[in-house]
């Protein structure tokens, strides 16, 4: 893939990025299988060009675009973010993308719009996880954010990482990145962005409502019902004897995002 020119961002962490080989080989992307190595093994089959994406729903200027046209108005930025998986591991990824807020502003949300619903590609012929008798989730994968979360400057749509176009296994060609939430909120291979009035359904919440909430903010004080969220293991760091590191509130982005949730009971609205 061609190199991507991206401006540095003050939102980037100075922590050491996870090696590209790990970022590309250790993925959760159930459309390509449940194993961590499955996406890297199976995602080559995905056709990412041409790619259509629509912005629709409660917006004054909805539209459907080819990906190139969709991206063209926005300046690319490099955002080096921590990524914390709900399973208890984390990475640091240098994403390339642009703020979701710019996309939404351009669409001009109507007053009634309170949430943003996202939808991934459904294409069983290229996605083995969407075929067969037993499927782990309902397809297409869907996710959602409250409008103020979606408009937050940390929230981006990514089209690349490490200065290159997104590898298929990382959610090519267009994915969401919400760094203060568990990784599964950052929906991959997006085809639809919809402004809506009511809180939209989300895939893991539909699968196990008691385990995965709508908000799914990284929170060391609210455990997953089956395992602790107090610590995490940083991928590609120090081999067998590396220590776990403490998980930070809002994945270390509390200063930027805590105000979005003031007055909310985060134990209940996990």
């Amino acid at each position: 893939a061609a190199g991507m020119q991206a401006a540095k961002s003050p939102f980037s962490t100075t922590e050491k990025p996870t090696p590209l080989s790990d970022v590309k080989s250790y993925n959760n992307f159930y459309e390509f299988g449940p194993g961590k190595a499955d996406p890297a093994a199976n995602a080559d089959a995905l056709t990412t060009a041409p790619w259509r994406v629509s912005v629709e729903g409660l917006a004054a200027r909805p539209g459907e675009f080819d990906l190139e046209d969709f991206m063209k108005p926005y300046a690319l930025e490099e955002r080096i973010y921590r990524m914390r998986c709900v399973e208890g591991w984390s990475m640091v990824v240098p994403w390339v993308g642009f703020p979701l807020a710019e996309v939404l502003k351009k669409a001009e949300p109507l007053g009634a719009a309170k949430f943003v619903a996202f939808e991934s590609l459904s294409r069983p012929e290229e996605m083995p996880g969407q075929r067969g008798l037993f499927q782990l989730l309902d397809w297409p994968y869907v996710e959602g954010l409250r409008l103020d979360e979606a408009m937050h400057p940390l929230t981006i749509l990514a089209v690349g990482l490490y200065g290159e176009a997104l590898p298929n296994q990382n959610g090519a060609p267009l994915r969401l990145v919400v760094p203060w939430k568990y990784g599964f909120k950052s929906i991959k291979s997006i085809v639809r962005i919809r402004l809506v009035e009511k809180q939209p359904p989300t895939s893991w919440n539909k699968q196990a409502a008691g385990e995965y909430g709508f908000y799914s903010n990284v929170n060391p004080n609210v455990d997953h019902p089956r395992w602790s969220q107090a610590t995490e293991r940083r991928i590609g760091e120090g081999g067998l004897f590396a220590k776990r590191r403490p998980t930070l509130m809002f994945n270390g982005y509390a200063e930027e995002v805590a105000s979005l949730y003031s007055g909310m009971n985060l134990q209940k609205l996990f």
């Binding site: 989730l137 089956r226 602790s228 293991r233 991928i235 067998l240």
Partner: protein, 207 residues
């Protein structure tokens, strides 16, 4: 398998020295440790080591439980190796617990105990390991003589409970319901089903 072939196969098995099972049986652990020390266990080496050891514990336990159905249904006689298979299951479960406590949790015993008490998948897993302990301690001729065959057999039925605990522990430790833990649970269920409803017992051989 045709009768002649089966006969020579079982004869070949009889010629295998008993300790060969231990030598083969410890290869996966050795392999995992070597990979781990060379940092070749992938992006999450601690989990890979833990998971690998636990998986082999379950495999050996299920293999030990499969000995009798294999004898009855396929006439393959692995009875000589059953004790070794059972003990290997215990050793791997012990290594699995040790890797969790020492490497994953950094020997922080308070955290380990709190974790085990609080997380059903860990409580169940530890219960399975605890059940294997008396079985391992009595897996010797002296214990069988001392306890009497009937009491010994009764005690060792706990192996089924331990296998169920192991399979449940695996299922509860993962998101969603992927195929791998579901397959182990299904095999465990089949073995238990055969034990409960699989027909007549083979009369124990004369000592």
């Amino acid at each position: 398998m045709p009768a002649e072939r089966l006969k020579s196969f079982n004869a070949a098995l009889r010629r295998l020295p008993g300790f060969s099972v231990y030598i083969l049986g410890f290869c996966p652990a050795l392999w995992l440790f070597c990979l781990g020390l060379e940092d070749r266990l992938g992006p999450e080496p601690v989990r890979a080591l833990e998971h690998g050891l636990g998986l082999w514990a379950l495999r050996f336990l299920l293999a030990a439980l499969a000995v009798t159905p294999l004898r009855r249904l396929a006439r393959i006689d692995l009875l000589r190796f059953r004790r070794a298979l059972g003990l290997l299951a215990f050793y791997y479960a012990a290594l699995h617990v040790a890797a969790y406590a020492a490497i994953d949790m950094g020997l922080s015993f308070d955290a380990v105990m709190a974790d085990i008490a609080k997380r059903p998948y860990l409580t169940i897993g530890m219960a399975g390991f605890a059940l294997l302990t008396p079985l391992a301690l009595t897996s010797n001729d002296w214990s069988i003589r001392r306890m009497g065959a009937e009491a010994w057999r009764r005690l060792h039925r706990l192996a089924y409970v331990a296998a169920l605990a192991g399979a449940a522990h695996f299922l509860l430790a993962v998101k969603s319901l992927p195929a791998e833990p579901a397959i182990y649970a299904a095999v465990t269920g089949l073995l238990l089903f055969y034990r409960l409803f699989g027909g007549r017992r083979i009369a124990p051989r004369a000592p």
